[in-house]
């Protein structure tokens, strides 16, 4: 019980505090690759603070959805944090940790975000939510197959149990193959190149940005923060599955501290590599995305096939 509360507080604080950092880190890496100096490493924090201090503007057309959606987003994200152990695994987890529930809580956030995109009656918002929903629905089979593979191998659908099992290393080296589709899922869910371009405000490339175009002030800050949280969570899934060094040390102050430092190092490396991946590939056309997803689907399905049949 106590360990769960400790877990909840540590997890939520760590993720919320770290979330903006990776946004600006990836921006910095990309800027360096483009020969620019790039923003400061803590720029995202300043941005969020600035947005929090600004007044929010609602469209005359908008309804309660617009006002509710940012809160639902941030609350869903915070609840989702409780599903993914970051540093250590508590003794008891009170029904948290179910993978499918985790996915669908994020989907609930996305549902309201898409509705908010349609709410203001702007063309951009509608376009964004239409594209976001299409992309997120065709990525879904891949996500499910990835987690089904894990469920088969570890005979569990709970993040806590799976991470507990992987903290000593993967059972099969062939599970490393899941890294590729997981990174594709990460890029998709966090709206990164080649699926989406978070930098531009150009209608041809906008997906996620278009959807939250009508948000402002505090609400925009909440939306940005929750997408940052989502990014950290997906990164944490990848890190704890494939690079579990320093994860789940014995529960003590030193243990948690060591895990935190290990997680920081690993996640910074992962974020930098995401930046590098983004710098190396071009934005794909919207209707060529199904090819990427089909390849990822094939990869994950064949991995699953191997795990089941061999």
């Amino acid at each position: 019980m106590i360990s769960f509360f400790l877990f909840a507080i540590v997890n939520i604080l760590v993720v919320l505090i770290l979330a903006p950092f990776y946004i600006s880190l990836i921006k910095k890496v990309k800027a360096l690759f483009q020969g620019r100096k790039g923003p400061k490493l803590f720029q995202a924090y300043y941005n969020l603070l600035k947005l929090f201090k600004k007044e929010s503007i609602y469209s005359t057309n908008s309804s309660f959805i617009m006002r509710v959606a940012p809160y639902i987003n941030i609350i869903c994200s915070i609840v989702a944090i409780l599903f993914v152990p970051l540093l250590f695994i508590p003794d008891n987890y009170f029904g948290f940790g179910n993978i499918i529930l985790f996915l669908y809580i994020l989907a609930l956030a996305k549902f309201f975000m898409a509705l908010a995109g349609l709410d203001a009656g702007s063309t951009f918002g509608g376009m964004g939510s239409s594209r976001e929903m299409s992309i997120s629905s065709i990525i879904e089979p891949i996500v499910i197959i990835i987690f089904a593979t894990l469920a088969f191998v570890y005979n569990s659908v709970n993040f806590f149990e799976i991470f507990g099992a992987t903290s000593v290393g993967l059972v099969h080296a062939s599970l490393w193959l899941l890294l590729i589709p997981l990174i594709i899922v990460l890029l998709t869910e966090t709206a990164r190149i080649p699926i989406d371009n978070p930098e531009t405000h150009l209608e041809l490339t906008m997906v996620h940005e278009a959807m939250i175009l009508e948000q402002s002030g505090k609400n925009l800050a909440l939306m940005e923060l929750s997408s940052g949280v989502k990014q950290v969570l997906l990164m944490a899934i990848i890190i704890n599955l494939f690079f579990p060094i320093g994860f789940n040390l014995p529960l003590s102050l030193i243990g948690i501290g060591t895990s935190l430092i290990a997680f920081l190092i690993k996640s910074i490396i992962l974020a930098i590599s995401i930046g590098i991946i983004e710098s190396f590939i071009a934005k794909s056309r919207l209707f060529r995305l199904p090819i990427i997803f089909a390849i990822a689907f094939l990869l994950s399905l064949i991995t699953l096939m191997m795990e089941m049949l061999l």
Binding site: Y71, G95, L108, L118, G121, S130, S134, G217, P290
Partner: protein, 648 residues
């Protein structure tokens, strides 16, 4: 107990008759009495079936002209009676106001009376434990629903829909009759008893049953009537038909599957595959639909697909003698049937309110209704969240159960089956994600942004009865979702099944606490001021409804991605003033989606029947006497030859 059933029967009979007495009475009192009677009957039967679920089965016999028709309420029947009663209850409340919207007084009375008949027949289909009785009430259900579909019989579209529905449902019944005959020949009794057929005959029995019930349930490829009948019929009836009637078909399928002994593996696989196809195609067709009620009808096909998937899983796991997992699958299917009946009736009723307010079913002409129809939109939103299987609502729980059954397929020995299950699982995941997209579209386009027509702008909130009926269902959706762990654990203990579900109650409480804390923190550190201003319209002064995203625009990416399923036909015929094709004169451009099942599956047999009957018509329609005498002569000759050959 039997007394209560008789009471239900009599009350429903009374509520059929009462409106017919004062057929031309303009005052609504008789209709109200009748509807209240229906509610009473529903409450009694809920009570009754809860007794059955907690205690033991009720069985009795009815004697009609010397023949005994046995009736049985076991837990399965009781479960479906609960579905019928809950939805029937809410629809009756809704109808108190809804029935008054029709112009002609006669129609109002007929609506109530037929609705009572419809509910009565559905209840007794479920109770019947006898082939003839089942068939009788089944047909009564078909005919009453047919009359209800034909309710707006003045419209050409409705006539077509009614006839389409009638033909489809009767074709289904033919298959049912055939299978009932097979059962009767085998068992020698009209009661439901286990058959002992040869593998070949039992396969035939399975196929006929699957087609017969599948037609009624809306299984692809026999689903087409749903998309015609639902938009045509009154919304309260659509709610009943989609929420309950297609579940009665599912009940029939499950009931008769229990009867057939020696189940074969391929049956389960076939049900699974057809279920997956229904789910996927249903939601894909729903996504591109512009007619609100037709969209909901296609989504019903999707949900029937999901229920069939879990029935298929049940059969497959039973074949591999893994009863623990198989039972979870069956319960998942039943639970989804229950959930679907709740949220689909909710959606149909709120859609009916919207259609009443805006006088159109086309969602391209709606929009902005959230301002005038606050409560209706909230109810629709709850329905949309539940049907998109988002937590903590009930739709999520049943899909979660199905996913967990899929995740356990590793215990099956055959690799082929495992692979089929995996592919089916990924398509199922795709389906539920597409459902979310579909209902973002439905809610966003109908209720949000700027009104797209004058009617939508002037829409009025629905009456209080039209809010109370759906509201009960909405609350049920939420309560069942949040307390799913407790409810299912309770059921699981009775049935000896363990569901490995996350405790949504804890999670909801956790979410609530986090939400309150987060809200307080955000309120304190954030800027409290807000301002209302116009949406940025790229420099245009005032934004109008033509600048919004449309429904077809919303589904365009998905239509393009799944273009091999939609097969969009683009016709573009320009004519030019000059020979080089530079100065445009006039032209025709159209975009249509292929109606695959109608063009390739339904029409060819129809054409063949046409062809044959044309030939027969020529034979029959000769006017001269001689040819008829010739026919008689030839017939007698043929008979003589047959007799001569056969009797020897």
């Amino acid at each position: 107990m039997v007394l209560l059933i008789t009471a239900v029967f009599l009350i429903l009979l009374l509520s059929i008759v009462i409106p017919l007495i004062g057929l031309k009475l303009k005052h609504s009192s008789l209709r109200k009495i009748s509807l209240i009677l229906i509610m009473l009957a529903c409450l009694i039967s809920i009570f009754l079936s809860l007794q059955v679920l907690l205690g033991k089965d009720i069985s009795f016999q009815i004697f009609v002209s010397g023949t005994a028709f046995s009736m049985l309420i076991d837990s399965l029947a009781a479960f479906f009676i609960i579905i019928i009663s809950i939805v029937g209850f809410c629809v009756s409340i809704y109808s108190i106001s809804y029935a008054e919207h029709f112009e002609s007084v006669k129609k109002r009375n007929f609506l109530v009376s037929l609705m009572a008949l419809f509910i009565l027949s559905m209840m007794f289909v479920v109770i019947s434990h006898n082939l003839l009785g089942f068939l009788f009430f089944w047909e009564l259900m078909s005919i009453s629903s047919f009359l209800l579909v034909l309710f707006d019989y003045e419209k050409e579209e409705t006539k077509k829909a009614g006839i389409f529905y009638f033909v489809m449902t009767q074709l289904g019944t033919i298959f049912l009759i055939f299978s009932f005959i097979l059962i009767y020949i085998n068992t020698g009794t009209l009661d439901f008893t286990n058959t002992s057929l040869s593998p070949f005959l039992s396969s035939i029995l399975f196929i006929t049953l699957a087609i017969g019930f599948g037609t009624k349930a809306g299984m692809v490829p026999f689903h087409k009537w749903l998309s015609y009948a639902h938009p045509a019929s009154p919304s309260s009836i659509s709610a009943l038909m989609s929420g309950v009637m297609i579940k009665v078909a599912i009940y029939g399928l499950i009931r008769f599957l229990f009867i057939i002994s020696q189940q074969q593996l391929w049956w389960g696989i076939a049900i699974l595959i057809f279920g997956t196809i229904s789910a996927l195609l249903g939601i894909i067709y729903a996504l591109k639909e512009q007619d609100l009620k037709r969209l909901l009808a296609y989504s019903s096909i999707e949900n029937i697909g999901i229920i069939l998937i879990s029935i298929g899983l049940y059969m497959i796991f039973t074949y591999y003698s893994l009863p623990a997992i198989a039972l979870v699958a069956l319960f998942a299917g039943l639970f989804h049937a229950f959930n679907h009946s709740l949220f689909k009736s909710l959606l149909f009723m709120t859609a009916g309110s919207v259609v009443n307010a805006t006088h159109t079913k086309n969602i391209e002409k709606m929009g902005g209704l959230v301002k005038n129809m606050k409560y209706t939109s909230l109810l629709f939103l709850i329905g949309a969240i539940s049907i998109s299987a988002l937590p903590p609502f009930n739709g999520f729980v049943s899909e979660l159960m199905i996913f967990q059954v899929f995740f356990k397929s590793n215990s099956i020995s055959s690799p082929l089956i495992k692979l089929i299950l995996m592919i089916s699982m990924s398509l199922f995941a795709l389906t539920s994600a597409l459902a979310a997209a579909c209902f973002v579209k439905a809610f966003g386009i109908v209720f949000l942004a700027v009104p797209r027509s004058k009617e939508a702008k002037e829409a009025k909130e629905a009456d209080k009865f039209m809010l109370v009926g759906p509201a009960i269902l909405a609350i049920l959706c939420m309560v069942i979702g949040v307390f799913s762990f407790q409810i299912l654990n309770f059921i699981g203990e009775k049935a000896g099944v363990s569901f490995d579900l996350p405790n949504l109650l804890w999670i909801s409480i956790g979410t609530f606490i986090i939400g309150v804390i987060a809200y307080l923190i955000i309120r304190n550190i954030g800027n409290k001021h807000s301002r209302v201003s116009e949406t940025w319209g790229c420099g245009i002064n005032s934004q109008n409804s033509k600048m919004e995203y449309t429904a077809s625009g919303f589904s365009e990416p998905i239509v393009t991605i799944f273009s091999s399923i939609y097969q969009p036909k683009k016709i573009n015929k320009p004519t030019f003033y000059d020979s080089k094709g530079v100065i445009f004169k006039e032209g025709q451009a159209s975009l249509s989606l292929i109606k695959f099942f109608e063009e390739y599956l339904y029409l060819p047999p129809l054409k063949m029947v046409h062809y044959i009957s044309e030939k027969l018509y020529k034979i029959q329609n000769k006017i001269d006497l001689d040819s008829f005498i010739l026919y008689i002569f030839l017939t007698i000759l043929a008979l003589l030859i047959i007799v001569g050959v056969v009797i020897r």
